[in-house]
Amino acid sequence: MTPIALTVAWVAFLLGMAWYIAVLDGLWSAAREGRSPRAPLANPLYRCATMLRHQSNLTEAPDLLNWRLAPPLYAGLAGTGVALVPFSSTNVLADLEVGIVWWGAIEALTVVIVFLHGWSANSQFGLIGAYRYVAIGLPVMLISMFVLIATALPAESLAIPKIIESQRGLWNVIRQPLGLPLFLLLGLSLSFRGPFNYADSADIADGTAAEVSGAPRLVWEFARLAMLTAVATVAASVFLGGYLGPWLPGPMWLVLKTAAVLLVLVGLSHQLARISPSRMMTLIWTVLLPLSFVHLVWAGVLAL
């Protein structure tokens, strides 16, 4: 594919997957509440139109630059994450030698952006969401970095295309069984959904987005879906072999695997309850992080 075709495919992938997640969310909520969904396929588009018609809210003395920049920057980070992933063995938008290090930078910058989004509104609910998010988001990021380093060990490379090629014989999800579950937690944390929704949850009136409405809110909600897409795409590539697979062309396999990972992520975000931030901190630091150490040792011994 030419770079232009690749870019068009990248945009279509992001928009399509965001729509897919929104449809799944609607169907899942309807099923849980025992009602029949109304226009499940078109509903996300109606909601976009509604948000666009709303007035953009302004608070008293916000940091307007950071406040307005945070949603597009968050969406941009998600887009950069998807660009790292090859659609097939020859088609990759950003062929970086240090792909998973760049993904780590995306995770770290996401924490900064979400903090700034809550902080810059100059409103207390936004600020509470921002602080809670940093406390949870940073240790979850640590876990995901150990998990990603483990996938680089058999490939002997930090590049995502090489990590995919190293899974021709055996997918990492089987070789390193703890990796995918731990990485899925990162997906919930980076887009603050379900059990990891500490930034924008209902108990603090939508947290960092409490004062945000209109077009900025639309961009922010889209960015959350795009970030979940980015996590699912990276997960499908480094654990499920990405574009590798029989019969179908490579890009199809990537789309199918990403869609399957997204289905699991949406299911987890609707089915798991959220626990209080302090208990989640204990869980992360005393259970999940040690698990990621065990995982890294396991992967290292296997790679030796």
């Binding site: 910058l109 903090f115 940073l138």
Partner: protein, 200 residues
């Protein structure tokens, strides 16, 4: 002037301007993230110089570091959330003099140094080369020590954070006694609530 040159000038301008703005802003949070922006621009210049690992690791580390720094500054400085305006610079005369001197000295060093022109051949595995150059055969030992150190840090924080100022963290907080060794002050958990005597 090719694309790389243009990118260099843009990143250089971002690095210098945001570095300068760190000293003009009136908020700890803004100062931290302006400094982060400056470092990110420097990291991207390192990527342009064909040092992708060092450059992107700089971006990664600066994002985490500035986030933690901003949070801790706000926590310790009693400035609600860092949105209140506050003076961010101290010792004006000394710092201006030190800044001018350091800038002149470093610029002088750049001018008098004869840099070697030794471009890396395209296709060289610079990341693997850097790892071997830095660590050589001790890679495994170094990585093991790194993870062990982190595990030790986490464990020591968890062990030391159990006994808080007001009792063990997992038993709930108990206020200190009014006299040494006495009963804890205030109402005890489990005692009848203060609303009991309102019943008729």
């Amino acid at each position: 002037m090719n694309v790389t040159d243009i990118a260099f000038w843009i990143f250089a301008a971002i690095a210098v301007v945001s570095g300068w703005r760190v000293f003009c802003t009136d908020s700890m949070v803004r100062a931290s993230f302006l400094l982060m922006l400056s470092f990110i621009a420097v990291g991207l210049i390192m990527v342009l110089l064909n040092a992708p690992y060092l450059g992107i690791a700089t971006v990664f580390m600066m994002a985490v570091e500035m986030m933690v720094m901003a949070l801790f500054m706000v926590m310790y400085m009693m400035n609600p959330a860092g949105l209140n305006p506050m003076m961010m610079v101290h010792q004006h005369r000394f710092s201006i003099a030190a800044g001018v001197f350091l800038f002149a000295a470093l610029t002088g060093l750049i001018i008098v140094t004869r840099f070697t022109s030794n471009p890396v051949a395209p296709g060289t595995e610079v990341v693997a080369g850097l790892g071997k150059e830095l660590l050589g055969d001790s890679m495994l030992i170094f990585e093991t020590a790194g993870v062990t150190l982190l595990a030790t840090m986490v464990a020591s924080v968890i062990l030391s954070s159990r006994s808080g100022r007001f009792g063990a963290a997992d038993t709930g907080s108990v206020p200190p006694p009014l006299e040494p060794g006495g009963e804890p002050a205030g109402r005890q958990p489990g005692q009848a609530s203060g609303h009991a005597h309102h019943h008729h």
